[in-house]
């Protein structure tokens, strides 16, 4: 943390503090629009259609017929207001259109106008409005200020999920040619190369070989990070950020050590070298299915028995909740293991089975806390017990660290705050929004820093890690104060035959 200028106690903001409404505060914050070459590979029109109005209205009707959640959520909101103070973007910006119900109303008002009796005949009474270009632009602005984290859905008495509305709105926008550059460009890249980075198999192999060298330098043991190995038992599907970004890479080294220590054969696939599935962010079932399908193809082609997902939040939501739907049935895999399995489940089992030799003191320099990633917390599960997605990462952390403290209860587990960069908003053109959206989480972190001396925060999501490494310096932390959970595992695990540091030091002393 940055040193204090004086001896006054630090003024730490309450992470749950509700701001005064400030109309239009974020009205000018817009993410870059997609170009035709980003939209077309996804099956969307390249640019705004001439008959966009008819197409958009028809699309809303189509979605209401194809998605029960969309229809029921548009109909049932009573405007009770319970969700109004739950969105991190509202807490961080004060813009009332970032209140979940107000965000839903941007689309609900149009749905009502064209698809409900009250809206057709008494629009002024129920707040229904015509679809105009201004409305469309407003959707583009505010549906790209929602990270689809579902915190509002937990608060709603009917479980209305703004994420569903926001995904649908983006699908409507895409259907008329108003895609977002960040998401659509990335999906197009993945369809070409198998990962969001656009990294080809050759570059990937070279990267993994470098990492193997690093591991051997560190441990003195040839720990492998296999690529495209046919007949391996486990196919690891991990976000491509794990191949190049910090602290993601350290997490990947952690998986490699755990697999090595557990003695299983595993491989990464160059064809499905991406866990992330941005098809979810744009609400496109077809694109999400196509991206997921690569995992099935790779698993079949390599002849693996199990699929394990690395640390990635929305990928795990797609993996846990949607993969079986989108790319199943996985009758060709070993049915004795969950399909797919999370690396946290694997590591947790390895700890229980005594497969890992752990020296917790190697993480003594860190006082840890854990950031529950929104999609893992509210859109998926782990393990055999309800709530395993909260308990397993904490169990693993506590197994490898001596110092651990949770943040305030209303900001973790099912009430966790989004990092501020999820849902397709992890782009530099939205940096202002990302910093404001991270504020609630950062305030909660500052609290435990003050109360317990917490120095570092761990996460199991590539987006969270990238977002925090960017925004933490704005809140008095260093960019490496965010860590991968498996980075801490990697620090603490001692592999068979690995000399530990004390021995090494002794060996160096003796001439």
């Amino acid at each position: 943390m940055a040193p204090l200028d004086n001896n006054e106690p630090r003024k730490i903001g309450d992470p749950l503090k509700i701001p005064q409404i400030e109309c239009g505060a974020m009205a000018d914050t817009n993410t870059f629009a997609a170009a035709p070459e980003h939209n077309e590979p996804l099956g969307f029109p390249g640019e705004l259609l001439e008959n966009w109005k008819e197409v958009a209205i028809a699309k809303i009707g189509e979605l209401a017929d194809k998605n029960r959640a969309f229809r029921v959520y548009l109909d049932t909101c009573v405007k009770c207001g319970a969700c109004t103070d739950k969105c991190h973007y509202f807490l961080g910006t004060g813009d009332p259109k970032n209140m979940p119900v107000a965000r839903q109303d941007l689309l609900r008002s149009v749905y009502r106008r064209y698809y409900t009796f009250a809206g057709k005949y008494f629009p002024w009474l129920v707040g229904a409005r015509d679809l105009t270009k201004e409305v469309l632009d407003e959707w583009y602005t505010y549906y790209h200020q929602c990270s689809q984290c579902r915190r509002c859905s937990v608060a709603c008495p009917y479980g209305i999920d703004t994420a569903e509305i926001s995904m649908a709105a983006r699908e409507v926008l895409d259907s008329v040619g108003m895609g977002q550059k960040y998401c659509n460009e990335i999906i197009a890249k993945l369809k070409k190369t198998g990962n969001n980075l656009g990294m080809n198999p050759k570059a990937l192999r070279a990267t993994l070989e470098d990492l193997e060298e690093d591991l051997e330098d560190e441990t003195g043991i040839a720990v492998k990070i296999p690529l495209d190995v046919k007949g391996a038992d486990i196919l690891l599907i991990t976000p491509s950020a794990d191949f190049f970004a910090e602290p993601h890479i350290d997490g990947l080294l952690g998986y490699a050590k755990v697999f090595h220590a557990a003695g299983v054969s595993w491989t990464i696939s160059s064809y499905a070298s991406e866990a992330a599935n941005f098809g979810m962010f744009i609400g496109s079932y077809e694109n999400m299915r196509e991206v997921s399908w690569r995992i099935r193809q790779a698993a079949k082609d390599l002849g693996v028995k199990r699929i394990v997902f690395g640390e990635c939040g929305h990928a795990w939501r797609v993996g846990y909740s949607f993969l079986n739907t989108l790319a199943g049935p996985f009758d060709f895999l070993d049915q004795n293991y969950p399909i797919p399995q999370h690396i946290m489940e694997f590591t947790s089992d390895a700890i229980d089975d005594g497969l890992l030799k752990i020296d917790k003191s190697r993480n003594d320099e860190f006082v840890m806390t854990f950031h529950d990633s929104c999609n893992v917390a509210r859109g998926s599960a782990m393990g055999r017990q309800e709530g395993g997605q909260f308990d397993l990462p904490r169990k693993v952390l506590k197994a490898v660290c001596n110092h651990y403290h949770d943040m305030e209860r209303d900001t973790i587990r099912e009430n966790t705050f989004c990092c501020g960069g999820g849902g397709g908003l992890l782009t530099d053109d939205l940096m202002d929004l990302r910093i404001k959206g991270a504020k609630p989480r950062m305030n909660a972190l500052q609290q435990v820093t003050e109360d317990h001396g917490v120095t570092h925060m761990a996460a199991i999501c590539a987006i969270c890690k990238t977002q925090f490494s960017k925004v933490m310096p704005k809140f008095g932390y260093e960019m490496d104060n965010i860590m991968s959970v498996h980075q801490l595992v990697a620090n603490a695990v001692i592999l068979d035959g690995q000399e530990d540091e004390a021995d090494q030091a002794k060996a160096e002393e003796t001439p």
């Binding site: 017929d65 405007k79 109004t84 209140m99 999920d161 079949k300 949607f322 739907t325």
Partner: protein, 252 residues
């Protein structure tokens, strides 16, 4: 004359409410849910989902966790109204069921809980900045209509009593498709008229939250996507994607 008007009004209102709501519910039931989207942590069994839904319906659990004031007012209103409605059974039966007798004294005073809840919700809607922002005219009018029903009903119980025997005769008559004469008391006409209006707008308003709750996938789905493949009818019709990886030269 007034009796005939009200009789027709009630037949129409009942028809609108039952058919309208039925059609909406049918639509909800027939619309597929393409993906598993329970908000987790979610129950992993059907029985667990029943339990979750029971807690939502009986305790308003999610609302309690998210906002204590709204919960308090909403709870006073809904359960006040429930007792009041149960008490009203007596106007539709010749032989009054024992539990309707039992509920009678509670139902009478529950109208005050209902009123308190409604007033609390209205005050919040007017004075709480965020809720005022999201309110449309219909949101205020809905509360006003419910207040009208509750105030007129409470008045008849505690202030200006009406000839309740004739009212009951009128209602029993309606059930047998006979139009009896009802007492022409302004407060009664307001009460019954506003109830009929509420019934008419039920299927086309946010009152659909009552049946809607039971069709909310984020609450009603079982968290078992890994164990059981969930596939919607329209998704099953999508064209097949290729099995196996295309050869490398194609990839390039």
């Amino acid at each position: 004359m007034i009796s005939t008007v009200y009789a027709v009004l009630f037949y129409v209102a009942t028809l609108m409410m039952v058919v309208g709501t039925g059609m909406k519910v049918l639509k909800y039931a027939r619309t597929s849910a393409p993906l598993k989207i329970p908000v987790s942590p979610a129950p992993r069994t059907k029985r667990g989902v029943w339990f979750r839904m029971a807690r939502e319906v009986v305790l308003f659990e999610s609302l309690f966790k998210s906002n204590k004031w709204i919960w308090l007012f909403a709870y006073l209103f809904h359960f006040g109204m429930l007792l009041v409605l149960l008490r009203h059974f007596r106007y539709f039966q010749m032989e009054i069921w024992w539990w309707v007798e039992l509920v009678q004294p509670f139902g009478k005073y529950a109208s005050f809980a209902m009123l308190a809840g409604l007033i609390g919700l209205l005050i919040r809607r007017i004075f709480q900045q965020r809720i005022r922002y999201i309110s449309a005219p219909s949101d205020y009018l809905m509360l006003a209509l419910l207040l009208l029903i509750a105030v007129s009903g409470t008045m008849m119980t505690f202030v200006s009593k009406v000839d309740i025997i004739s009212v009951k005769a009128f209602m029993l008559g309606l059930l047998r498709f006979r139009i009896e004469t009802m007492p022409v008391e302004p407060v009664l006409l307001i009460h019954l008229g506003s109830v009929a209006l509420l019934m008419i707008i039920f299927p086309i308003s946010k009152l659909m939250h009552a049946p809607g709750l039971f069709f909310s996938p984020s609450r009603t789905q079982v968290d078992n996507a890994r164990e059981f493949r969930h596939l919607s009818a329209w998704a099953a019709q999508l064209p097949d994607l290729p099995e196996g990886i295309p050869a490398p030269e194609e990839k390039k």
